[in-house]
Symmetry: C2
Subunit: 217 residues, 2 copies
Amino acid sequence: MNQPFNAKNQPLSARQQEVLTAVLDLMVEEGDGFSMAKVARRASCSKETLYKWFGDRDGLLTATVQQQASKVAMPAMFGEGLTLSGFKQILEAFAVSWLEVITGDVSAALNRLAISHAGSGTSRLGEIVLNNGPIEMSRRLRPVFEAARETSLIEIENADHAFRTFFGLVVSDWQIRKLLGEATRPSQKGIEITAHRAVDQFVTLYGVHEKPRNINA
Amino acid sequence: MNQPFNAKNQPLSARQQEVLTAVLDLMVEEGDGFSMAKVARRASCSKETLYKWFGDRDGLLTATVQQQASKVAMPAMFGEGLTLSGFKQILEAFAVSWLEVITGDVSAALNRLAISHAGSGTSRLGEIVLNNGPIEMSRRLRPVFEAARETSLIEIENADHAFRTFFGLVVSDWQIRKLLGEATRPSQKGIEITAHRAVDQFVTLYGVHEKPRNINA
DNA sequence: TTAGTACCGTACCGTACGGTACCATGCAAG
DNA sequence: CTTGCATGGTACCGTACGGTACGGTACTAA
């Protein structure tokens, strides 16, 4: 992904990234309610520097969101001979990684921020998070589905539907519950179990193996 | 569901509900950013009255959320002899109703509000929305699943997993996209198609069909 | 040394908001 | 009528915040 930029479209210095880390911490702790003064205190810098670097509060938030967005890691690609179990392994790694992210405090804080700003319609944070969340996930998953379709592992009439189904099976209500403040986070084991079941279900719906019935959607 | 209450725990008068409607409108238009003065102007009442009735800003928001929560309608129950197509019809009505709600502007505004407040940890709005959203959906769906299980239409080892699967298949990424500000709303036809597919998929995963193996339930 | 630069800390300004006080109006009870 | 209550309208207060200005300090370059 792209480097995050500040107001002058320069790549960020180490010191600037320190500031963004402070912002992220505050965001996790207090949501959108923190002040520029608090950021300055936390990052041990002056407000004037914040405004020089990031323009205004919105610029600071945008830079923070972009920096995090540039960090989302996803499981690597695969080789040539794609087997069913290999395919399932990739999907499962994907699902685990995704669940770990969205049940985490950082992701929750960023999504909360973007969501509340989307309501006020005063910034592009929602768009940024959307592009680096579900949409990016879809982009990276598409070639995997494509490869599985070409090796006749699955049968997909519409890649978009398949992605949405996979998303739903994996994410379920975990994300909305987290965003609404439900405290209980699934354990690592719980995440793995959830991911495994989601992949099984996906393959049941879209796989072409010895399916017990015809599965058309 | 319960009647919504004001600060004195009296049921709301018609005038008070008018005020809450004004709040809701502002919420849809501007998110969380509206001021008490704006509410007073919009509702043609004085700020003092607002504070007398609802205590403070948080009380006003809480009353608004509770009033909406008390309005969620859900498809009615069913009779005795439950057939597969009847079961699917109920689920589909459920799914359609749910999708209509969560892709609507009012639901988005309320969820955005509750989510941003959940980040600041300063109110119980998240809890209220959660209880009247996914959790209430689960409560109402459970007896339907139960009845279907008893008539051997489906095979469910864990009602909670079944609900989460259904939720994921239905909601997919519609809600998070809406919350993040994606403008495009699915058409009524699109909602029906989505609901239909989700129910088909759910029955594929949990249905008993003519599978002869494992009859215990 | 001098000049320039980058930054920190802090004081300051204007504004907007939550919340309160006060007055005016209308209405019902007596 | 008068009294009391509920409510609308508005002025007001304290505070907190976004944003700016300014002084002080360390460092670099010549």
